[in-house]
Symmetry: C2
Subunit: 325 residues, 2 copies
């Protein structure tokens, strides 16, 4: 498959860039956790989206590769700090930085990653730098806003769906949208193309987060690389919980709240919750929302000229639609 | 005094810029702590140094004021995160962010501040942006390295003076040097002037940290706005402790270690430690080092043309020499 080859080639290019970045060694207590966080590559969706959008509007890889590395490093920063705040123990199948070392080490490693991401931007073509520095900064600040909402919502009994969507648009959607928009800008795309790419990324990010919410309860622990049901256990206001509480009768709502308040949350309770989600049409609604977002994303690709890169973007979208981790 | 007026005018300009920055309100859980951290101005040494160095090489305020705001916001970021790591309760006479809210809030507020600092840089004259983005990033990464060394040293019994100086050069000296260097670059200073400004800042930063170490034991709690003896209590490897352990005989070293290991560290113990520092010539040595650094800083000013700004820099240096908080 030509497409897969290209995607894996892009992944290699990004991974090499990230390894180059993590070549500092002293002090060990800063750079060892940074290398650790960068060494276990995730899906690298954001940098790949950036490079594909760049290519899709006719840009050159060379002009965009530092922006791609930057967005992956910055995404890694958000994971390292989020894992502290959420007391998560597993990430990509390994211990989180805060668990393997401690919270202080994870705070500093995250800070270092964020700065290293920004440092990468200094290598961009100077004509694009002011705009991109502003875009990256606003996007990262919105990711912080999204995480702040996420933590604030944990303390509440329930949130509305608009609140849910505001939170995930900032926390997850924003970096996806940034990746696609930045790629199109660096590729000198016209305004319509830049807007299409941004919308494509935002819709994809929304679908991605909805899938995350879904996989948290119906995913496989081994494949996921993290605990199943951890969102529920942490009191995260996912789409599922929000939708289910809205559609539950008082008795079902009571049952749901009682189940969710168990610590630790055993497999049996998770199964009961899933059954409730199913009865309330929540699982079907989540899948429906995901499909709707992916359709919006797909439609944006029509604004881009036909090319290998556009085909790869469409292919990536299909892969995401089928993802199980 | 014309000089003081100018300094206080500069302080007002910076403070207004910072207030403009902190005008976002939602989500409260992110922006309230950010406003809180920015609202209690410190000495604003770094932005003032930046603006004065800029002016001293003939630059215009307008070109440099965003870089000045950025460095103060970034300095505030380091304080907010350091206070988490050090479990500090007081900063500038008020509760720290991590104490007033919690650690998660402080992690996010610090992240937000760092990003807001970078966002400011997007407003700089584009011709200077690539160089400054790289300089800022390298400097902030070194501040992280310094903090990592600081925390790693806490776990050790003792460190050498070269290790101490490496730590403070990164943790404190680097932002001072950056401020002065960035100011000179933005003012289009020639290479000799830029180097002189950078050296001036580095020496001033070193003196400043040595003074901090000294004030931690001989300062006044009210004036300092933080607990006296907190470095000792946290096991910080200050100049004083490092010097004293080097010059103590085995009995004195034993006495010092026993005193420092007390938790909480009462006033009586602090008095005994100070007496030991005095007997070992440590207080005098610290003062000698401070004077030496200030002399180096002062000599660098000779590379700058005579001007009001240069006079202000000299005046600032004298003020720092006499500081008690």
């Amino acid at each position: 498959m030509h497409c897969d080859q290209t995607l894996s080639e892009l992944r290699d290019i990004i991974q090499r860039k990230l390894q180059d970045l993590a070549n500092k060694t002293r002090p060990e207590s800063l750079y060892e956790p940074i290398r650790y966080a960068l060494a276990q590559p995730g899906k690298q969706l954001r940098p790949i989206l950036l490079l594909l959008c760049n290519e899709a509007v006719g840009g050159s890889l060379e002009d965009a590769v530092d922006a791609a590395a930057a967005i992956e490093v910055i995404h890694t920063f958000t994971l390292v700090h989020d894992d502290i705040m959420d007391h998560d123990e597993l990430r990509r199948g390994r211990q989180t930085v805060s668990r393997r070392w401690d919270e202080n080490v994870a705070i500093l490693a995250g800070d270092g990653l964020l700065v290293m991401g920004y440092e990468r931007l200094a290598h961009l073509p100077p004509r694009h730098l002011p705009v991109l520095l502003r875009l990256y900064s606003r996007a990262i600040l919105e990711v912080c806003e999204g995480q702040a909402l996420d933590k604030a919502f944990e303390l509440r009994d329930a949130i509305s769906l608009p609140e849910y969507y505001e939170m995930i648009e900032k926390k997850t959607g924003r970096l996806f949208a940034l990746a696609c928009e930045a790629g199109a800008i660096l590729g000198n795309g016209n305004p319509a193309q830049v807007t299409a790419c941004k919308k494509f990324g935002a819709a994809l990010g929304r679908a991605f987060q909805l899938q995350d919410d879904l996989l948290d309860v119906i995913g496989d622990e081994q494949t996921l690389g993290k605990d199943v049901g951890s969102d529920l256990e942490e009191g995260k206001k996912t789409f599922l919980l929000t939708h289910a509480r809205m559609h539950a009768n008082p008795q079902q709502r009571q049952e749901l709240d009682t189940l969710c308040s168990q610590h630790p949350l055993h497999e049996a309770a998770i199964r009961e919750i899933i059954q409730l989600f199913d009865e309330l049409g929540t699982l079907a609604a989540a899948q429906h929302e995901i499909d709707a977002c992916l359709t919006i994303a797909s439609s944006q690709l029509g604004f881009l000229p036909s090319s290998n890169a556009r085909q790869n973007l469409a292919q990536l979208l299909l892969k995401l639609a089928r993802r199980n981790h």
